[in-house]
């Protein structure tokens, strides 16, 4: 999985501090048919891969505050990218 930081810079970020649900995604994640997606789930973390390109299109983290040990609302996009980047290398 190359240039993951470059890919993540173009993604949307969504976080809700009540549900503590963090999502970072390419817009394709919400329009791509299910049979073209490959899901990897481990504990509170889900990563969705585009089967055709082998590139990720979404990372979802439940209980984000406890998992990332950071208040997402107080971070800028670069900090968030640095925080989630390591999770993608587990699925290479």
């Amino acid at each position: 999985m190359k240039n993951i930081k470059k890919i993540l810079k173009k993604w949307y970020i969504s976080y809700n501090h009540y549900s503590d649900l963090f999502q970072m995604y390419d817009y394709l994640a919400f329009t791509m048919p299910k049979d073209q997606r490959e899901e990897h789930t481990n504990d509170n973390i889900k990563i969705i891969i585009n089967k055709d390109t082998s590139q990720p299109i979404l990372i979802e983290i439940r209980r984000a505050y406890d998992t990332l040990h950071a208040d997402i609302d107080k971070l800028d996009k670069t900090d968030i990218i640095n925080l989630v980047e390591p999770y993608f290398y587990k699925y290479e």
Partner: protein, 136 residues
């Protein structure tokens, strides 16, 4: 004399009925019959939220979820802002499965999704509401 109460029922509005309508705050009822103000997302605050959340058919049907939810649970988030807000009043998470499919939004058909609607309410707190929509 028996007290007569009326309950406003929010009806699901179709994509065609709501598409293109301006996003304006409106009131709905929560599970206790209490009025809740449903507010639009503020673009300057919610810079990168899910594009689907900005769609009129989604926003205008949030009130319907509050009365037709599949599950409701308390927020257990340890995020500092959530903890602070919980001290002001209850925080309930309303969950509705397959909400986007129900709305029949073109281009979204066939996507399994779950919708979480979050409501904060308290006697001394203004009603607020946020929501998130994601695939499963």
């Amino acid at each position: 004399m028996a007290k007569i109460t009326t309950l406003a029922i929010t009806v699901l509005r179709t994509f065609d009925e709501t598409s293109g309508l301006p996003l304006r705050s409106y009131t709905s009822l929560d599970l206790n019959g209490k009025e809740i103000q449903i507010n639009t997302k503020n673009p300057s605050v919610h810079k990168s939220s899910n594009p689907l959340e900005q769609w009129a058919p989604v926003f205008l049907n949030i009130g319907w979820i509050l009365q037709n939810y599949d599950e409701v649970k308390d927020s257990t988030s340890n995020d500092p802002k959530a903890i602070t807000n919980r001290k002001k009043g209850d925080v309930k998470i309303f969950i509705k499965n397959n909400f986007i499919e129900t709305l029949d939004i073109p281009g979204q058909i066939g996507i399994q999704d779950q919708t979480q609607v979050v409501v904060l309410y308290g006697e001394k707190t203004n009603y607020t509401l946020t929501y998130s929509i994601f695939t499963r």
